[in-house]
Every structure is written in structure tokens, then in C-alpha cells.
């Protein structure tokens, strides 16, 4: 599956700390991990209540995903005592399987307008693209054409402030706001390139009553593949929380991650659990998607998705096989891969047979089909034949293999 998950999402306060290094301004905030600390934070912020609405605070749970407002994870407080209560409630929350352990206490700013500013990759233009909307807020992707400016820029040159000013002008900004937004977008683009970001969004950016542009929230994702050259920057902002997309992982999925991490050689993991009776040991990536679709199309009920490839060790394959077979309600396992050239069919066969033994099953009844054509195919066939299993060859397509697998479960 394409690597949507191969990125690190920073917590809001980490993102702000990172972006502040590039000259972007944010509301003053203090990160706390107890209700008592929230009281101190509120008192500390009160001392600077110059810009603020009369001692009003915002408290936000620090979790690595968006949609906090709708989830009730953004609260308002008027007094330090309110802050204590709200912080206590936030710290007791568990969102999408993530326990809230820190809360950002911030001054509540008075502002006149709000905007959305972002930078992301346009995968088809193969360029970074800056975005500016005069309709800041949660539904910014609904912005009408005339409210949204979008400009790709050269990754070698960055975004000159004039591009930012042109974007500002195109959505109707004028005067000091126009110039300020030009500089704001330049800095955001600079941060995006310098930090190897996948996404940077400041939503909203507000214009205060005295005309300053200040960010209220920040969303930053850094590319995993560039982590090697972002070590210093990332170390300075503290531990990065594991990225949470979708539902929390199941016990089986967590165990498969552990198995995959046992050894760096090859992949035998990326398991997603489903509610079915046919375990799937499938690969590589593209064939896994193809086989999963085909099993469903032929009326089968997959117990899991997974990806195997890159010549994993026998031990990893055995552990994963035993794990997938141990799932409640699983009747049989299908082992299907595309024509392999790096992965060895015999290593896969040995691992699968070991795993079946570990699970206390018999190969001839546990395997619905075994189809791994390509390198060391003959050796695999011989091993399986001894165990009473007839391996399928490349002349049986992925689709046909999936159909046979489903047929043998019924």
C-alpha cells in the first residue's frame, strides 16, 4: 500500500516550536501535564494579558491528529480555576486509543480576521505547492475558488515573498495584510523545505487588532525517509508520538509488528485484521492488494491483510504463519505471492511449514493454496509435496489462485 503512513506527525506544540525557528509567530502557550500545572500556566499567561481578551484561555489536548474541536478536546477557560477543571477533563481523555498526557494552555487572542496557510506536495506536478485561503477554519477544503490561492514553487529556489503577495492579492488582501502574508508564506515555505515536511498547515492564521499575523494552531508532518537529516531539529522538540491514523491497532496487529521487527531482513508484516475465516499470507505489496480484492470478489472472507516480501527469514515467516492461524475462527491459510525474484520460494515454504507445526495444525489441512512461483520454486514444491501439499505454479493466475483458496475453505 502506498506509504501514506511514512511520516511523523508532530504534536501541536512541537510544530509551533519548530516553525517559530523560522520566524513565524504563535500565541504564547505553556504545555502542562497536570491540572495544577494548568493553574500556574494560566496565572503566568495572565501576567501578559496585554493582547488577550480579559484573562481568557484556550486549552488543547496534545494528540497527533486533527479534528480535536469536534472531539471535545479543545476547551475554553476564564479563570485559572476553570483551567484546572478543563485540564483535568482533557487529561482523562482517550482519543482513538491515544491517552492524552499533555495539554497546551494558551492565551485567547482577540483578532479581526482568520486565514488558512499551508504547504504540501503536488504529486503530479512534482512540486511543493503553497495554499492560502481567506476562509480559515475547519472546513477550509470547501473554500470557493475565489477564496483560495494555490501556487506551485521551485524546490531549488523556494517561495519568494512576491509569490506570497500575488497569492494574497488574488484572494483580495490589501495593505499591510498583503505584505505581511507575503512574508508569512515565504517563511512557511522555507520551513517546509528545510524540515523535509510532507505537510505544514497553520489554521487559522489570525490578524490581530493591531495588524500582526499570528498562528493559533499548527499541523506539521515530517517525512520518515528524511529523518536521517532532521535528527537535530527533531531532537530539539522532544519525543515524537507514533502517528495514529484510523482505529487503534488490534493485539494481532501489534504482535505482527513485533514479528516484523524481529529481524531487519525482508517484510513479514503490515497486517490489518478483518473479521473472516481465511488467513492470508500474501505478497509483495501489489499482489497483496490484488489477492485480497480477488478473495473478496470470489466470496471469501479474509481474516487479515498482510504484506510479505524482500526475502524475509524462515523464523519471521513461521512466527507470522502461527500468529495468523491462531486467530479465532480461522479455518485455513492461503499463501499467494506474485512471481518472486528476490524472495525465495523455498524459504517461504519452510517458514510456513514451521509455523503450521507451531500452531499444532497439519499442512495438508491448514493450507488452502500455496502459490509462490519464481526463484527456488522447485525446492519449495518438493518440500511441500513431502508435507502433502501440491504447490500451484505461475500458470495459475493470482485471480485463479484466490478463487481456489476460497473454494477450499468452503
Amino acid at each position: 500500500m502506498q506509504n501514506e503512513e511514512c511520516k511523523m506527525r508532530l504534536l501541536e506544540h512541537q510544530a509551533k516550536k519548530l516553525l517559530a525557528q523560522f520566524g513565524l509567530a504563535f500565541t504564547r502557550s505553556v504545555v502542562v501535564s497536570s491540572p495544577e500545572a494548568a493553574v500556574d500556566a494560566a496565572k503566568q499567561l495572565q501576567n501578559f494579558s496585554f493582547f488577550t481578551l480579559h484573562s481568557a484561555f484556550v486549552l488543547k489536548a496534545q494528540v497527533p491528529f486533527g479534528g480535536r474541536g469536534k472531539a471535545g478536546a479543545v476547551r475554553f477557560a476564564v479563570t485559572p480555576d476553570d483551567a484546572r477543571r478543563e485540564a483535568g477533563e482533557l487529561l482523562a481523555m482517550n482519543l482513538r486509543g491515544v491517552q492524552v498526557t499533555s495539554v497546551s494552555v494558551e492565551e485567547k487572542l482577540a483578532f479581526t480576521r482568520e486565514f488558512y496557510a499551508g504547504v504540501a506536495w503536488d504529486t503530479q506536478a512534482k512540486l511543493p505547492v503553497a495554499l492560502l485561503s481567506i476562509a480559515g477554519g475547519v472546513e477550509v477544503e470547501q473554500s470557493s475558488h475565489e477564496n483560495l490561492a494555490r501556487r506551485a514553487f521551485d524546490p531549488w529556489m523556494g517561495l519568494s515573498p512576491y509569490i506570497g503577495r500575488e497569492m494574497a492579492a488574488s484572494v483580495g488582501l490589501k495593505g499591510r495584510t498583503l505584505s505581511g502574508m507575503g512574508a508569512f508564506l515565504e517563511k512557511l515555505a522555507q520551513a517546509f523545505l528545510a524540515c523535509d515536511a510532507v505537510t505544514m498547515e497553520i489554521n487559522p492564521v489570525v490578524e490581530t487588532t493591531d495588524g500582526v499575523l499570528i498562528g493559533l494552531d499548527a499541523h506539521v508532518e515530517i517525512e520518515d525517509d528524511a529523518a536521517y537529516r532532521q535528527k537535530e531539529r527533531l531532537a530539539a522538540i522532544g519525543d515524537i508520538a507514533p502517528t495514529a491514523t484510523g482505529r487503534a491497532p488490534t493485539a494481532l496487529e501489534l504482535e505482527s509488528q513485533r514479528i516484523d521487527a524481529m529481524d531487519h531482513r525482508g517484510v513479514a508484516g503490515r497486517v490489518v485484521e478483518f473479521d473472516g475465516d481465511l488467513a492470508l499470507l500474501i505478497g509483495g505489496g501489489g499482489a497483496s492488494l490484488t489477492v485480497f480484492d480477488a478473495v473478496r470478489r470470489h466470496g471469501g472472507k479474509p481474516a487479515n491483510y498482510c504484506e510479505v516480501g524482500g526475502n524475509p527469514t524462515e523464523e519471521k515467516v513461521a512466527a507470522l504463519t502461527a500468529l495468523l492461524l491462531s486467530k479465532k475462527g480461522v479455518k485455513k491459510m492461503a499463501v499467494i505471492m506474485n512471481v518472486v525474484n528476490n524472495t525465495r520460494a523455498d524459504v517461504m515454504a519452510r517458514g510456513v511449514l514451521m509455523g503450521i507445526e507451531k500452531a499444532g495444525r497439519k499442512p495438508s489441512e491448514a493450507i488452502s493454496v500455496f502459490r509462490i512461483p519464481g526463484s527456488w520454486e522447485q525446492e519449495a514444491r518438493d518440500l511441500l509435496a513431502k508435507a502433502g501439499v501440491r504447490a500451484l505454479g505461475r500458470e495459475i493466475s493470482l485471480d485463479e489462485s484466490a478463487r481456489l483458496a476460497v473454494q477450499h475453505v468452503a
Binding site: M1, Q2, N3, E4, G66, G67, R96, Y116, G118, A120, W121, T123, Q124, K126, L127, P128, L131, V140, E141, R150, D154, P155, W156, L193, D196, V198, T199, M200, E201, N203, H219, E223, D225, A226, Y228, R229, T245, G246, R247, V272, G283, G284, G285, G286, A287, L289, T290, F292, D293, R296, R297, N338, V339, V340, N341, N342, G374, R394, S397, L398
Partner: protein, 296 residues
């Protein structure tokens, strides 16, 4: 032809473990690998191929115009720029985990010199019976079983599926003009649209099989191009990962939604391609139906 059979091939990072094995298999298949480069290892040989310290020297002595890059990810941008500076016309990048910024930078630089980039993160490409670049298909016996010469081009976002599709076609008597793993990264050099445009000028290709996956907008972009300007090629597609559309909780940021404009689902890709006149196979085996319908 995208890969000129007479062109000399350079391998950057030739002394690396993966590159060494790749060179052995590619030479056995008949690929014209004329030189290799590993900075600091000039003067060595890899399976009889001379190694140079710089691309400049390799080009001066052996005039390669095609390069295969197999260097560690942090060195890819530099290696690619070095090849562009010395007249390489086709550059295939096998390396995985190249930061997106580096890919974008090298793609921009390639545009300026008119070099075609395949990858990063590709197993390679093969013109059956002529040459192969990269590890595609593996060892000689496996390559010979999987690929045979013919008129169908295979373009695939998955390396393994490139060989699987070609092998399926071969076993049904349908040969291939070229098979390309376009690369598995979100941002790659030549995507479907650009490759189709190159293949339109290739008389050895009549039909195309495209393999697509969830995410990105390469399939939608091709559909848009075909609606604007139909192709002389008969195009067929197989898309996998339909179940991913129904997975809960895959949430993207606002920026990704704005930039991708709601593209990325398999359902959407299939609909867009069909609307543009592409035969979209619902099941893998239906690829054949498409090609047979084409032929009638």
C-alpha cells in the same frame, strides 16, 4: 523505442551489493552495460565492467547515454545531477527511501536538460529479448520464463506486479514491447501520462496494460489527458486495492485534500479511466478480455 538497444548503459553505485548482482543478471540478459561509477573505486572491475571515479570519465571513455542509479538514498540527488551534467538521456533510479524533496529537485533538474527519469524506488524496466535495466525479473531463467517479445507495454506502480502481469501475458501467448516498474513512491519521475506520450511514438508498441493502486493521482491524470487527446495506443488498466476505499479512518490533512482534489480512491480512478475510454479489468484475469477486445 524508450530504451535504444544500441545505447551504452552506465551503473552508478556499481560496487554496491545489490548493483553487483543486478549487473551480473543484466549482462547475462544482453544489456550493454559499458561502465560503472563509484567515487574512490576507479580502476576496479565488476563482472568485467570498468569502474570509474566520476561520470565524466566514464562518459569520456565509453559514451553511455543511459544510467541506472543504485546508491544509498542520501546520495541519489547528487548522483542524478552528475548524470544529467554529462548527457545521460534516460536515468533509472532503483534506490528506495529517497526524500521527496530530493526527488522533486532532481526531476526539476532533469526537465531542464531533457532527461527522462524512471523511479525512484523501481525494480527497473525490460525490453524483452533486448535488454533490461535493474533487477526486474531476477535471474536469467526467471526472466526468460516471465517475458517474451511482443507489442504490449506494461506500466506498473508495483515492481512485483510488473513481472506478474508480463508472466501472465507470456503464458497466454502475448508478448511485451517493454515492461516498466514506474516506481512505488508518491512522487516519481515519469508517470503513466508521460510514459504513454513516449510510447505513442514507439512503433513497436500497440497496446498498454497499466497497473494502478490506491493513493496519488497518476491514473486520474492519465484519464484527463486521454479525454483531451485520445491515444493511438489501446489502453487497458487493472487497479488493485479496492478494499482500501472502504477502510475506516484514513484521514488526510486539509492541504492534501485541496491539492489532490478528492482523487486517490480506486473507485474514482476506475471511473475516470473508463470515462476516458480505457478498458478497466474488474478481475486480474480480465486483462486478457481487454486485450482481446482491443485486437478485434
Amino acid at each position: 523505442m524508450l530504451l535504444d538497444p544500441k545505447a551504452g548503459i552506465l551503473v552508478q553505485g556499481i560496487t554496491g551489493r545489490e548493483a553487483t548482482g543486478m549487473v551480473e543478471d543484466a549482462l547475462a540478459y544482453g544489456s550493454r552495460i559499458v561502465a560503472g561509477v563509484t567515487p574512490g573505486k576507479g580502476g576496479q572491475q565488476v563482472h568485467g565492467v570498468p569502474v570509474f571515479d566520476t561520470v565524466a570519465e566514464a562518459v569520456a571513455k565509453h559514451q553511455p547515454t543511459v544510467s541506472v542509479i543504485s546508491v544509498p538514498a542520501p546520495a541519489v540527488l547528487d548522483a542524478a545531477l552528475e548524470s544529467f551534467a554529462h548527457g545521460i538521456r534516460l536515468c533509472l533510479i532503483m534506490s528506495e527511501r529517497v526524500p521527496r524533496l530530493d526527488t522533486c529537485k532532481l526531476v526539476e533538474a532533469a526537465k531542464r536538460v531533457g532527461c527522462t527519469v524512471i523511479g525512484p524506488n523501481t525494480l527497473g524496466l525490460i525490453c524483452p529479448g533486448v535488454a533490461k535495466l535493474g533487477t526486474i525479473g531476477g535471474r536469467l531463467d526467471n526472466v526468460k520464463q516471465s517475458f517474451k517479445s511482443g507489442k504490449v507495454a506494461v506500466l506498473s506502480r508495483s515492481g512485483g506486479m510488473t513481472t506478474e502481469i508480463a508472466s501472465f501475458l507470456t503464458s497466454r501467448g502475448i508478448g511485451q514491447s517493454i515492461a516498466i516498474g514506474v516506481g512505488g513512491d508518491p512522487i516519481i519521475g515519469a508517470n503513466f501520462t508521460e510514459l504513454i506520450e513516449l510510447l505513442e511514438n514507439d512503433s513497436s508498441t500497440d497496446a498498454v496494460v497499466i497497473y494502478g493502486e490506491p493513493g496519488g493521482a497518476a491514473e486520474e491524470q492519465l484519464a484527463e489527458r486521454l479525454k483531451k487527446k485520445p491515444s493511438r495506443l489501446r489502453i487497458n488498466a487493472f487497479l488493485s486495492g479496492r478494499f482500501v476505499d472502504d477502510l475506516e479512518g484514513v484521514r488526510f490533512g486539509h492541504a492534501a485534500v485541496i491539492v489532490e482534489g478528492g482523487r486517490g480512491s480506486v473507485r474514482g480512478k476506475a471511473a475516470a479511466l473508463r470515462e476516458a475510454g480505457v478498458f478497466v479489468a474488474d478481475a486480474f484475469d480480465d486483462i486478457l478480455k481487454g486485450l482481446q477486445a482491443n485486437a478485434e
